[in-house]
């Protein structure tokens, strides 16, 4: 991890203790990366700005759930940001949902960011992606980095929606086998 890991960890810990100066510094340090993630996924500057504010409100309230010994602070922060941005995206995008009615219970379950994110994984993902055919690797990458939905991926790769989905699910199982080796 980068040199900033120790500092981020410290800032998150102090944020959990409601240290507002530490929280402000955490925003300075982590804000640009999280803003980049929001912009990339939401592709709308105004929406990304709103999202970033909500993400930091979330971070303020949930910083105490970050577990320093087993989690990289950047991974935890990114997960909070990505989850929030994807939720917004799926709530608005055509093709993001077959069922349109808003579900207020959606936020009721614990989010993934409160679960530990282990540090030890490195860049194995690149190796495993390279074992997929290039279009399939690209589909996985686009989904993760750009937030592409199945509808968008099916358009991009010019395959029927169901085909796209079984494609990607098979790729995931293959990836998972590779990562377990």
């Amino acid at each position: 991890m980068s040199d900033g890991t120790g500092e981020l960890r410290d800032l998150l810990g102090r944020t959990a203790l409601r240290d507002r100066a530490a929280f402000a510094r955490l925003y300075d340090r982590a804000g640009p990366k999280l803003f980049g993630i929001c912009l990339r996924i939401l592709r709308d500057r105004h929406e990304a700005e709103d999202a970033l504010q909500e993400i930091f409100v979330k971070i303020w309230y949930s910083a105490e759930r970050y577990v320093p010994d087993i989690a990289s602070p950047q991974a935890w922060l990114n997960t909070v940001a990505r989850n929030h941005a994807i939720d917004l995206l799926r709530a608005r995008k055509p093709g993001g949902g077959e069922i349109d009615d808003a579900d207020p219970l959606a936020d009721d379950a614990p989010g993934p960011e409160d679960r530990a994110i282990q540090l030890s994984e490195g860049r194995q993902i690149e190796t495993c992606l390279s074992e997929l055919t290039p279009p399939r690797a690209e589909a996985v990458r686009r989904a993760y980095v750009e937030g592409d939905s199945y509808v968008e991926l099916a358009d991009r790769f010019a395959v029927p929606l169901n085909t796209m989905r079984s494609w990607l699910r098979r790729s995931l199982i293959q990836l998972r086998e590779c990562m377990s080796r």
Partner: protein, 231 residues
């Protein structure tokens, strides 16, 4: 960390991957998230995918944040409502705390620091003070009785407004614990199904229309918040 004694169905492995990638349509995403609450093995699988995919974030370049964002975050979290006039009849049931000991504990929280009860019961406290120090609210939760006691001091909400108390546990939607009296003390029983959520939660007060939020979710700014800590 959760250990994973039973191998997951490959379909669940793929679903967890889809969930982390974010490709699931909204309804399925919500459904999957609800499953996570009760399935530790599935949660562990999601964590694995988060770990696996995280390095892909490296290709996302940081972007300078516009200068107006941070003040907006501070406003949302810390800006107290500036208001004086009260006059709203408190619908909160007022309770004399009875036991002088409990009163002493609340007083201790507000002004003297934590106090330990002699009988060793598990107690949680939260000291909420607005950024400008004007609004103060201390809460004491007794696990054995399942009762939350609050002591409200300082500035009162504006005319036609009430302070509402919220329980925030992790990523769950904030749960309303009720509208606060404008001043003095109150006690509220925490419903049994919420009691398991109190430990290490955060309490927050928001500024709401009289009688509390009409929508079930907080509509006003957070006036003050603080985590519950064991004493």
């Amino acid at each position: 960390m959760t250990t994973d004694p039973d191998p997951l169905d490959p379909r669940d492995v793929a679903s967890a991957g889809e969930y982390v990638l974010g490709t699931l349509p909204r309804a399925e995403r919500d459904l999957f998230r609800r499953r996570l609450a009760g399935e530790p093995a599935l949660r562990a699988e999601v964590t694995r995918w988060e770990v696996h995919f995280h390095p892909l974030s490296d290709e996302v370049a940081p972007v300078d944040t516009p200068p107006n964002l941070w003040p907006g975050i501070e406003r949302r979290l810390f800006e107290p409502s500036v208001a004086r006039d009260s006059g709203v009849s408190p619908f909160w049931r007022w309770l004399g705390l009875g036991a002088g000991l409990a009163t002493a504990v609340l007083a201790g929280i507000l002004w003297l620091g934590p106090v330990r009860l002699p009988d060793g019961g598990q107690l949680w406290v939260s000291d909420m003070v607005s950024a400008d120090g004007a609004v103060r609210l201390a809460a004491l939760y007794d696990e054995r009785s399942g009762e939350m006691r609050v002591s409200v001091g300082g500035a009162e909400p504006g005319a036609g407004r009430d302070f509402e108390l919220w329980l925030i546990q992790g990523d769950r939607a904030p749960i309303s614990l009720g509208v606060m009296p404008h001043r003095g003390q109150a006690a509220m029983p925490i419903p049994p199904e919420l009691r398991m959520l109190v430990a290490n939660a955060t309490l927050a007060i928001t500024d709401e229309p009289a009688g509390g939020t009409p929508t079930g979710v907080a509509t006003g700014p957070v006036v003050a918040s603080a985590p519950l800590r064991r004493i």
